[in-house]
Each structure stands twice: as structure tokens, then as C-alpha cells.
């Protein structure tokens, strides 16, 4: 994303870190569908579409390991950092900027709107 895009990003608070179990995920409902917000074992936070590029499985329901999640439907492994399928599978899911300020969690909604537009 260009510097200009980043500048006009609109960070929206969605809750606090403790709302998500360590090595787990929660969903955020948006007009464009669900976003899965992940918390890794080392408390990094990532947000991606809750929709596996394979058959649309809900990634938020998968097992989180390292910075990746295994889809509950057919075991595709998706990188939380890039949204890309790892291993032999090919495909990618949209990533959404997410950040942690203190304990507060934010995702960048502006990016959503631009995608929707």
C-alpha cells in the first residue's frame, strides 16, 4: 500500500486483546462479510477475510499455529501475514491492516471501504 493510502487509513477500535484467546480468533462483522481477527501465541494480531480461498471455509474457526491458521474444512494452511496459502496449495485471502495500541485493538476500515468501492 502506498504512503498516501496509509495516511488516510481509518483505524476503528474493535475491542481489546484479551477478547481473543491466545492462539485463537474472533470475528468482526462488516458490510462486506466477516473479518477474522487472530491472536498468535506471541500476541501478534492479524486480520484477514474469514473466507478460505479454497472452498470459503471460516478461517476464524481453524487452529492457529505460529503466524498461520489451518482451515477447519479441508486443512489448507493460510499465512496470517500475507493471506497466502502455504505449502502446495495456491490461493490468497485479503489481509486487513490490524494493530495493537496498548491493549486496544484496531483494524483499518478505510481499506475496507476502498475495497468495496
Amino acid at each position: 500500500m502506498s504512503r498516501r493510502e496509509k495516511d488516510r487509513m481509518n483505524w476503528i477500535a474493535i475491542g481489546s486483546l484479551s477478547d481473543i484467546p491466545s492462539r485463537g480468533a474472533r470475528c468482526v462483522a462488516t458490510p462486506q462479510g466477516k473479518i477474522a481477527v487472530f491472536r498468535t501465541a506471541d500476541d501478534q494480531v492479524f486480520a484477514i477475510d474469514d473466507h478460505c480461498p479454497h472452498k470459503g471455509g471460516p478461517l476464524s474457526q481453524g487452529i492457529v499455529h505460529g503466524a498461520a491458521v489451518t482451515c477447519p474444512l479441508h486443512n489448507w494452511v493460510i499465512s496470517l501475514e500475507t493471506g497466502k496459502a502455504l505449502g502446495a496449495d495456491e490461493g490468497a485471502v485479503r489481509t486487513i491492516p490490524a494493530k495493537l495500541e496498548g491493549q486496544r485493538l484496531f483494524i483499518a476500515l478505510e481499506a475496507l471501504a476502498s475495497k468495496a468501492a
Binding site: 476503528i12 474493535i14 475491542g15 477478547d19 481473543i20 484467546p21 491466545s22 492462539r23 485463537g24 474472533r26 470475528c27 468482526v28 462483522a29 462488516t30 458490510p31 462486506q32 466477516k34 481477527v37 501465541a41 506471541d42 472452498k55 470459503g56 471455509g57 471460516p58 474457526q61 481453524g62 487452529i63 492457529v64 499455529h65 505460529g66 489451518t70 477447519p72 474444512l73 486443512n75 494452511v77 483494524i107 476500515l109 475496507l112 471501504a113 468495496a116
Partner: protein, 816 residues
Amino acid sequence: MTEKLVIIGNGMAPGRMLEHLLEEAPDRYSVTIFNAEPRVNYDRIMLSPVLSGEKAFEEIVIHGDGWYIKHGITLYKGHRIVAINREAKTVTSDHGVTESYDRLVIATGSVPFIIPVPGKDLPGVLSYRDLDDVNAMLLAAQSRAKAVVIGGGLLGLEAAAGLKERGMDVTVLHVMPTLMERQLDPAAGYLLQKAVEARGIKVMTKANTKAIVGNGRVEGIELMDGTIIPATLVVMAVGIRPSTALAKEAGLEVNRGIVVDDRMRTSDPAIMALGECAEVGGHVYGLVAPLYEMARVAAAGLADSEERRFVHSDTPTKLKVTGIDLYSLGDFADGEDREEIILRDASAGIYKRVVLQDNRIIGTVLFGETGDGAWFNDLKKKATDISEMRDTLIFGQAFQGGVSSDPLAAVAALADDAEICGCNGVCKGKITGAITGKGLTSLDDVRAHTKASASCGSCTGLVEQLLRLTLGEAYNPAAVQPMCGCTSLGHDDVRRLIKAKGLKTIPAIMQELEWKTSCGCAKCRPALNYYLVCDWPNQYADDYQSRFINERVHANIQKDGTYSVVPRMWGGVTSANELRAIADVVDKFEIPMVKVTGGQRIDMLGIRKEDLPAVWADLGKAGFVSGHAYAKGLRTVKTCVGSDWCRFGTQDSTGLGIRIEKFMWGSWTPAKVKMAVSGCPRNCAEATCKDVGVVCVDSGYEIHFAGAAGLDIKGTEVLGLVKTEDEALEVIVALVQMYREQARYLERIYKWAKRIGTAEIKRQILDDGEKRKTYYERFVFSQKFAQVDPWSERVSGKDKHEFRPMASVGFAEAAE
């Protein structure tokens, strides 16, 4: 005509001798063995892993009963030879069997040295020599009480570590100032003491035993300085003595051991001796490598195949205590004409010392990192002049001659005659030659053909590297399939180590077993979680983040992300009330699909995740609990109507089915478990394709198991017939518990049974009442923590976060 060969003793040395002899002159002798121990030949070096729980006795057997039968060898188990008549050329056993011989081999081994102090004969004082000793120690360890091991040598420390693993409070007494002083210099002895103490074992050096005290049995030890150490078990491991009494009585020349020449011949030309009882060139031996060399020499002598002579050589010492790496070889006393190179790394717990004389290695002590042992040994053996590499010698082979630190390259750089397996005297060339010459592809192959790494196993890594080096990409070390990419260990090893090391959390497993990833993957985490739930039912807190979504939210995920819900219908029996409640739930939540399952219950499909707790709340009010249709656990017990209604029914199959289901629901298992009870052999409940099935007959209950009707189709095996419902329940519960404890995660009962053998399962569950009882009791214990209805828990608020979105955002903006 075949000659008669009689062997007294059935330890590792004569066993190895026979292997060589059968290769070189298979038909020359008819062989008879007298073994004072009532069992076959096993790997005595591996008794310590048996004691610590890392191996089972079956795994250390070298020659099973079949081997003796196959080679036409007569083995008298539990026969001690009491007399040799050299004139008549006969031997006689304590059971009165007399056998004549043309050639006799004495391999009576050694006896443990018992310190002559008062109380040495009290019950509770053991030595550490054979399987009987190990079994006695295991029995004593059940008390979890205090044990004292006298002797801080190799055997004593292994015994101490094993007893500690088994939960005892252990103190080691050693009369010298540092441990293993014959093999280690004081610095390494000190590091060893630290490492031993770090495992919670107390060590007292300069401790001189005055007496073993106790009234009727051991209560403690009194030292010379008056200290009293309480103990219920005392293990004496202060050394061994060649067992020579029999030879002496027969008039053979005996010194410390039975005197033999370098071809293993005693003073009687018809009699040979080998092993720990023999004395060659003034030496007696206790480590396996020279004993195996004796076996080779003796076999050559018996076969007249070649003139092989025994030559003395130093043997490296290794300690078999998991997690303590120790290697020592040769002479390392200080001396005027000697120099030494030392490397210490305190933070890593590493100490290395090489002793030189005239620029040649004469001794090596390695502690903490022993990978270069073979290389130092090779330099010493060949008396290589090391002046060229003196500056970097201590850093090991990787630093010499531009060879990279890649372990594979280090092995590649070894000369063909470099010794790889010290126990069996196998060099690199012999292994690589066998791999290419005989087309070997696995570690087991190499062990079978060359014996390399088949004894103490510490050179296994080197042998695997040779396989990789020789076969390249074709080498697939997955003779043991690793659990997943996060580890090289297989499921069985992991399960064993969880128990042996007392690992009680997933991070502890990953740390101790050196997981390659920081927090595992979707394959290993659910497996580890199950193993921990099964092994430590009252101590382990179930890690829901390591469970598959179905088990995390107690419903079955469907292709569109909705869920299905199946309430329990005990034994497939329902009522108007229950059906009405289901109908109401279906209406209220607009559930799109209702279906009867194969397991005699009702499935509601297409429920949104957010609705799950409310659906369960309504179902709960009608008395429904979770049917665990989503679980690697007990699913259904399908039944027919049995003697209550059916004109053919022989027993109350419905009642038994309900009883089993109520007893076993909620238990987690390696894979799903489906059961059925049929009231007569017409088998309407289809019990003969289930994981566990019961077919009722007039005389009782026929218990079946290991059926399959999915990817594979397989009829059940019959476990056996029992007379009463109570017995049927006990057998079924014990069987499932055995499966829970032994199977690999996701392995159904039929696959597990095929792997370990239905005969073994029958033996443990049906024939061995004690064993059955303990399995049963462990299941009952674990149920205390498992039988909680997960649905009502969640209705009352557990894991709320699972069922609600964290936030809703962006809707207002979108509307603008």
C-alpha cells in the same frame, strides 16, 4: 556326524557367539544351552531404559523363543549347571538334567559384588544385574518412597536415574570424592554430579557405608560418620565379579576370571570360556565391545574358520541416562610427559579434555557434547600425529581441514576403517558396504545385517547419517513416521516420553522433545492435547485452542460454516417428550434439515453458530445432553430391542447398551468409538462391524471388537464370551482404556488392534484379570473429570467468546 556343543549361560556374549557360529558353520554342532535365568537372550545394556520406563522388556529381547526353535537349539531356561564332569564330558543342572558334550563353552558372566556390611541380606536390598532385579526395583518404586543407591559408577547412576523417573526419592552414595572416578577426571565428575543433582537425585561422595539397618526389612543406611539415611530400598551397584565357582570346582585354571588364551581356550582343550567370567591376558572385561570380540574369536575357534586372536583395546564409556551426554576413553591421568587440551563452556555445560603424549591422543573425556567421540577414538586408535591440527583439535572434527560443521560432511570425512559402533566393533566401511552390497534402506536393515547401533543405540545418529550419505535422496528415515513436520518423533515415541518424562503441558512436550516449531501445527497439537488429557486426567487443563473446531464448540461444522447438533438418545431410545422438544427447537430456530443418523439418533443441520447456546438451552430443558457426534470420543451405542420385545432376544440388549453408554459417555478417545449391542446372533444392531460390539447369546455376552464399516470394511474379532452384564461392562471398559492409552491419535480400534495384535489384547484384557482391573480403574478415574455435559456448561456461559462476533463495524458508513 554333528558334534555336541553345550553352552553354560545365555547372556549377550554366547548369544553373539552363536550368531557367528551359525553363519560360519551352521550344521557342525548340535547346540544345547543352559540358562540359569528363566528367559531368552536379551540386551542387558538396555535394562536401564526398561527401569526408567523408556523401553519395555519385549523391545530388548535379542533372540526370542522362535530363534532357538528355528536353529534347532535346545534351551533349558531356569537351569543352573551345578557340576562339570571333565572326565565323562558331561554337565548336570540343578533340575537333574545331564548332557554330554564334545565342546563346552562356559559363559557364566559375573555376579554383583555385595559389600560385606551388617544387614546386607535384609529384604529390600537389591543388586542391579538382571531383569529380576529391575522388576523388584519397579515393584519397590510403586511406593514412591526413599531409595539409596550405593555406588556412583555407571550402573549405580543409571539405576538412580531410573528409580527417580519412577517417582522415588533417590540418594546416591559414592565412596570416592567424585563420581565415576575410573572413567572421568575430577572436573567431568563434578559436572556429572551437578547434572545428576539437577534431576533431583541427591549425591553424597566420600560416603562410606557402615551398615544397612532395619528390623525385618530395610529401613535405612548408616554411614561410617554415624549419619543415618532412611530408605526402603537399597540398590548395591559397586561392581561385579567374574562368576568362576563352577570352573574352579571343575579344576580349571582360575585367577580373577577363568583363565583363557587369546583364542578363548581354558586349561582344558575341550572347554572354552568367554564373556565377563573370562580373563584374557590379565584383563577381565565388563563392557560389551570386548565381549563381542571374544564371541567372534570363540566362534572362529569352534568353526575352525580362521585363526582369530583376541587383542586388548580400550573401550569408550557412555552413560545411558537420557539428557546426560558423557564419553570417556583411554588414559587421562596427569603425568610429566603428558599434555592436555581443555575446552570449558560453563553456560552450555560443556567440558572436553584431550590428553596427549608425543602428539598423540591417549585419552579423551567429553561431557555435554559427545558427537566427536568417534573421531577422537579413531585418532587415538591410529595413533595419528595431531601436531598439525593442535590449535583446533579440541573443537572437533568439524574444524579440521576445511570440513564444514555440517554433521553429514563430518561423517563423510571419516575414514572407512573409522569405528562407528563401539559396542559391536563395526566400522564405517562395513556399514556403507552392507548398504550398497545388500541394498539396505533402513536403520533396522543396517542393524539386522551389521549390528551397528543395535546394542546401546548411542551411535544411531551416525548410522542414519551413513544411510543418508550412501543412499542420498532415496533414504527415507521414516521407518518411524514422524507425527508431523514439527518433530522427527513418531506418535509412539511421543506417548512413551510423555509418560517417562512426566510431561504435563503442550509447551513442556515441545520444549523437552525439541519441537522444531514454536507452537506446533494443526496435526500435532490436537494429538498432544489428547495424549495429555488421557495420561493426566486430573492434572491437565484441556487446551481448547488445540482442539479441532468441532470439539471446541461441541457441534459439527458443515460446508457452509453452519453447524449440526445431535443430542444423545441413550441406546437409541427416545420418547414423545424428547421428540416434541426437538420439533419445537427446529421450528423456533428455523433449522433447515432434520435427519435420522446411522447411530440411532436425530441430527439437526444448518444451525448458525450464534444460535448454538440457545438451541442447547432448549434441548437441555427436555433433558438432552450432548451426543458427542463431533468428538474423537464415545459416539453411540446402537441397540436392538432384545429380550424385552423380540421373540428371539436372549438378553436385555437395550438395557446393556444404555448402561454402557451412560458409563462411558464423555470419554475422549484417540479416534471415534462406535458401539452396538445385539440381542441375539441375528445381530440386528450390526454389532459385528463396530469398534466394540456385543452379541448376546443364551449363555452370556460375546464381546467383539476391531470392526470397521467406513473407508475400510472389516468384520469384528471375537474377544471372548463372558457370563454376566457386569463382566461384559468391565471387559469393554478395560479394552477401551487400553486403546486410549496405546493408540496413536486418529487411529481407530481396528488399526490399533492390527498393529499390536489381537492375541496381545486378549491376553491383557481377558486372560490377565489384574491387568483388566487396572485398566478399568484408570478409566473410571478419568471419567470423574470427563463426564460433564459440555452443552449445559456453555449454556451457563463457558467460552462465550466462541459464539459471538467480537464487534460489528462499518455498517453505518456503508449506509451513508
